[in-house]
Subunit: 148 residues, 2 copies
DNA sequence: CAGTATCCCTCAAGATACTG
DNA sequence: CAGTATCTTGAGGGATACTG
């Protein structure tokens, strides 16, 4: 039934999210934006993606309300791409992917970049779903209630 | 520099994770697996994906150590696909995508499926990164330390 | 520098027929 | 039912030349 791109109308929030940021580049652009990257050529150098693709992805992220453009902080003519509030709320997604990758996609002792708290220099605590009272919740404790 | 598929060798854990589960179907299969789906035709009906694509994706997820096959719980000939421990540890990723989608990709009052704790029936608490002492951490409080 | 405009090509994905 | 085999299509993406 899924012809091509109708994930965006599915009733499942996971499917809709994937329809917006579930491609090869979008979340990497968001990651770079969290890391302070905001200019076209810096994204381009960071990812090595073709310029036309980069332009289209940035446009899509702006259209989706994840990035917005600004006139450029210095007096220069170039504009900047910065995360909106909605884009910043992708932080848990990026952190979750990062933590999973750190645990399962690197060999023992293989170096990788790490996300730390600026003020303490400490890596982030492992992020896990929890109940309203703070108890950690494992997958088996949950179920999906349709169309709540 | 990124020719085609060399995301899997990047030093950034986010990029590596995306190289494994960053396509249109993988995380939806994982979501379904969390939801108890374990048979080929059930995945197929749930996603509407073509059978050859489904077969290849399942194989890739098995190769990646995210799913494993079992002889089938009843006496039947069919095998089942179940999450490994590594696959179960994708739970925060799926939950993060779900929560972001719920907040930003549905209209006010538009119904969507919801992830609740079985024992209480309550939706999960909002999941956010935090420091080792439990303080919530926002994106601006963090920085990436290269090759730690 | 920050894109746009083309051209081309590969691969993901769909459709369908077939098999143990 | 659980796939495999084959064919076709189209979108995603790369390379490069060009523009304000």
């Amino acid at each position: 039934m899924n012809k091509r791109n109708d994930l965006g109308t599915e009733p499942c929030p996971v499917a809709r999210s994937i329809s917006v940021v579930g491609d090869r580049w979008s979340l990497l652009l968001v990651r770079d934006a969290f890391d302070g990257v905001c200019r076209f050529s810096d994204f381009q150098r960071s990812l090595g993606v073709a310029r036309n693709i980069l332009a289209e992805r940035l446009r899509r992220l702006v259209d989706a309300g994840i990035l917005e453009t600004r006139p450029g902080s210095n007096g220069g003519a170039h504009q900047e791409y910065v995360l909106t509030a909605q884009g910043q709320s992708l932080f848990p997604v990026v952190v979750a992917l990062r933590q999973w990758g750190e645990r399962h996609l690197f060999e023992q002792g293989e170096p990788h970049s790490e996300l730390v708290e600026k003020s303490t220099g400490q890596p982030l605590h492992f992020m896990a779903p929890q109940a309203a009272d703070g108890r950690p919740i494992s997958p088996g404790d949950t179920e999906v209630r349709k169309l709540a």
